[in-house]
Amino acid sequence: MKKLIALLMISVWLLPAAALAQVASITDFALSRPPLKVSFQVDGAFNRDIEEAIRSGLPASFNFIIKLEKVNTFSPNENIGRWEFRHTVKYNNLHDEYELALDETGGKPFKVKNTEEMKMLMASCTNVAVEPAHLVPGETYRLKVKAELDSIDLPVILNYMFFFLEAFDFETDWHYHDFTHTI
């Protein structure tokens, strides 16, 4: 009986999040070097609910995480570095324009009128510089990339109401890309 109660309690928290989380994925991954730069797209980042939320004036942020690991054969991979940046958008309905800020380009806000352009800019990361301290030539490294909706800032009262609902959410799986460093 106690086990059932514990399971029920955990289910109350976990099930809605698991059920409502949107499926998104990393596509068009590209790596250029030197210097080490990555480009990729997030496919499926937007759904109707997220678009509506943004159009209703709620600020939204996409969080991107890049991890670099040295691949070891017989031992766990060695963590070399971790880079995290975000794309933020907020819609101004008065001027019918989107104000975006992309961390990898310095984070200076800029405005676009076109929704598709906004979506493209939000879901695209182009030539993001990954600058590890040192890479050993001949060694194999692994780049791991992941994107998630950082948050949509709901009104305060709604945060309490829907703490258990994650309708505005997506999270990609880790995208892996192995490469061997050359000079």
Partner: protein
């Protein structure tokens, strides 16, 4: 044993609670951790508030689940109790059902009404009219900006063309006057003219505007204009907006002489209003976006509240039912205990309501019952004591009646035998067990019945309360003379309740009286007859001595007569001596003697002298030493054997036997012959003095035998020997004799 079990159960329960706590605490911590990662709360909310909210939510959910668990557990328990037909479970089920019904119906009614109301209200919030109004307001604001943008942009282009057409660029004063005039005409905030090198050449600002309110124009836009590209945009400031319009000043040949920049400062009040419209529309859109979730949230909250009410009502129902049924259960158990005889049972339910009154009444009733029972037990004890005493008295009376030599018989007023002792039963030829409760007519023999009936009749006629009468009865073939003393029984009020008859055996008394009479007669006869016998004999002897010689030998008359006289006088003298011996028979002088030895001695006398008659003896070696008078017993034996030998006449058998009746503590001496036997009527008088069947007998032999046996506290009786002859049976008591 029960106490030990309950202590162990309590210990197990506590241990289980400890395990639950140990499981729940990490579960709460885990849930909080999960919540903090799953639920993305706004960054603007303080962490303390988040923790507080999470804590509250956790507690609420845990409590809700705990409540559900407890309620379900209780429901299952109630179901199991009802299934096992536990006392009070039916009433508890009914009460819980009633409470649940009473609470569920209005609660769910309210739930659905409120749901409908909320649904309608929320739908009302997002009505088309509201959205349209907000949208139109926003479009109005947007149009304003669009129009203003177009106007400023158009103005910049128009001013640039005019300045180029009129060739004003070469005259600085004309340019200044021109832009000042256009500033006033167009109600713009500023008008600036940039030269082809990008430097500002002229600047005019409205008197309504403070210079600090207008920022510098974006150089990039100036560069674009100098390249021939006209642009227009709205610059959002902290407090207001500025609408910019930039257009190149063309020269013939497609060249650009400079750039004309026009700005319009949107009034702060206007901007704020439009921002309010924008915020309202945004808020509306956000709420609309959350419409379903708001509804779901309200539904969830309402559902939780409804469930809480339902569960709480179930809980309260069960609690109240328990409050009612526990005392009832206690009462039922108490009733069962009292019915089983446990009057010390008390119900410990303390309450001031009607149940409490009932319990108090029950306890008082139990106390009264206990007091009553104690009184009853005391009365019962007294009664039993009295009954015991009565029973003892009755037993004592029965023992007395059973041991008195007289027979006692009582009958009730309708003639049924109420009591009869053994002696009376023997006398009346019946059995005690058979006779009790039956009518005397069914019990008594015909001759006895007639005597009693005659006595009843006479008592009735003469109105007597008592009457005595002798009657003869035959017991075991022996005739007895019985004195019947009949008394009417009356109670305290004098009512007749029956009769009691006392039967006295007069046989022995009469026999003794007769014996005494005979002894007296014998003594007197001996005295009166013996005295003249000696002179008669002496006279006869003198006559013979003096005159016998005088008679011739042929004449034998004298001789015969005197001899006859002398012989008859001797016979008479012997007879008189017998009578005298009988009258003066000495008292028995008992001493420890072996009866078998006495028998042996007597048998020795007869065995040698008897040839025709076969004399046998059989002795019981177990026979102990008896306290008897050796000579008298020997005389008894000789008398009986003489009689037996005489009875046998010719060939026959005389047997002498001794037996030891251990149970009865009696020594039995039997002398039997195979002679002609004795008739029944003779048997009755056989032991009377001077009664003899022999022609020469004095009739004193058996009388003396009987007398000796009586002196030894023994008993002699005669009965027929089988297959023929007579058997005398003597029974002597065996006592502990010190040898």
């Amino acid at each position: 044993m029960n106490d030990i079990q309950s202590i162990e159960a309590e210990a197990r329960r506590r241990k289980r609670e400890l395990y639950i706590i140990l499981a729940v605490v990490p579960a709460i911590l885990l849930l909080t951790y999960v919540e903090s990662h799953v639920a993305s709360l706004g960054s603007g909310i303080p962490i303390a508030t988040n923790i507080f909210i999470f804590g509250l939510i956790n507690i609420n959910i845990i409590l809700l689940i705990l409540l559900i668990f407890l309620v379900l557990r209780n429901m299952v328990k109630l179901f199991m109790e009802r299934k096992s037909r536990l006392m009070g479970s039916r009433l508890r089920t009914k009460l819980v059902t009633a409470f649940v019904s009473l609470s569920i119906i209005p609660t769910f009614l309210l739930f659905f009404v409120v749901i409908g109301f909320i649904n309608k209200s929320i739908d009302g919030w997002f009505g088309i009219k509201v959205e349209d109004s907000l949208k139109e307001s926003l479009e109005l604001a947007q149009n304003y900006y669009r129009d203003m943008n177009d106007r400023v942009a158009s103005a910049s282009r128009a001013l640039a063309l005019t300045a180029a057409d009129e060739g004003l660029l070469h005259d600085s004063e004309k340019v200044a006057g021109f832009i000042e005039r256009k500033l006033t005409e167009g109600d713009f905030s500023t008008i600036e003219v940039y030269a082809a090198d990008g430097a500002r050449s002229h600047f005019a600002i409205s008197s309504k505007i403070n210079r600090n309110m207008i920022p510098d124009v974006d150089p990039l836009s100036i560069s674009k204009a100098l390249k021939g590209e006209a642009t227009g945009w709205v610059q959002t400031l902290d407090t207001s907006d500025v609408v910019w319009g930039i257009a190149p000043i063309p020269l013939p040949g497609g060249k650009v002489a400079g750039a004309m920049v026009v700005s319009y400062y949107v009034p702060r009040s206007l901007v704020e209003k439009m921002k309010e419209i924008s915020a309202a529309f945004q808020g509306y859109r956000q709420l609309k976006l959350m419409k379903f979730h708001v509804k779901a949230s309200y539904f969830t909250i309402l559902l939780i509240i409804t469930l809480l009410i339902v569960f709480f009502s179930i809980w309260i129902g069960r609690y109240l039912a328990k409050m009612l049924t526990v005392p009832i259960h206690e009462l039922a158990e108490g009733t069962h205990a009292v019915a089983s005889g446990n009057l010390d049972y008390r119900i410990k339910v303390e309450s001031d309501d009607e149940i409490g009154l009932l319990v108090k009444s029950f306890n008082r009733m139990t106390e009264d019952l206990k007091a009553g029972k104690m009184n009853l037990e005391a009365a019962n004890l007294d009664l039993r004591r009295t009954n015991t005493e009565l029973d003892q008295r009755r037993q004592y009376i029965e023992i007395v009646l059973g041991n008195v030599p007289a027979g006692v018989v009582s009958i009730d007023k309708i003639g049924r035998l109420v009591s009869i002792n053994r002696v009376a039963a023997d006398m009346l030829g019946t059995d005690e067990g058979r006779a009790l409760g039956r009518h005397y007519r069914e019990v008594l023999r015909e001759e006895d019945r007639e005597v009693l009936r005659e006595m009843f009749r006479e008592m009735s006629e003469m109105e007597l309360d008592s009457m005595e009468r002798q009657m003869r009865v035959t017991v075991n073939g022996a005739s007895m003379t019985v004195l019947v003393n009949l008394n009417a029984l009356k109670d305290e009020t004098g009512s007749y309740i029956g009769m009691v008859a006392v039967l006295d055996d007069l046989t022995h008394l009469l026999k003794t009286q007769r014996m005494s009479a005979w002894k007296e007669v014998a003594r007197r006869i001996a005295h009166e007859i013996k005295n003249p016998l000696t002179p008669i004999k002496l006279s006869a002897q003198r006559l013979r001595k003096k005159y016998l010689d005088r008679f011739p030998q042929e004449d034998t008359v004298f001789d015969e007569c005197t001899m006859t006289i002398i012989k008859q006088v001797d016979d008479l003298k012997n007879l008189v001596n017998e009578f005298s011996n009988f009258a003066r028979m000495p008292a028995a002088n008992p001493s420890p003697n072996d009866l078998n030895e006495i028998v042996g001695e007597v048998m020795a006398l007869y065995k040698s002298g008897q040839r025709k008659v076969k004399i046998e003896s059989s002795v019981d070696q177990r026979l102990p030493v008896l306290d008897i008078d050796r000579d008298q017993i020997k005389r008894v034996l000789i008398n009986l054997i003489d009689n037996a030998v005489a009875a046998v006449e010719e060939e026959g058998v005389v047997s002498v036997e001794t037996h030891f009746l251990e149970d009865l503590k009696l020594a039995r001496l039997e002398v039997a012959d195979t002679g002609g036997g004795i008739q029944a009527e003779i048997k009755q008088r056989l032991f009377e003095p001077y009664f003899s069947t022999k022609k020469t007998g004095t009739g004193l032999g058996l009388a003396i035998v009987s007398n000796i046996i009586s002196d030894h506290n023994g008993y002699i009786r005669v009965r027929d020997n089988q297959p023929r002859g007579t058997r005398f049976v003597i029974e002597l008591p065996v006592k502990a004799v010190a040898v």
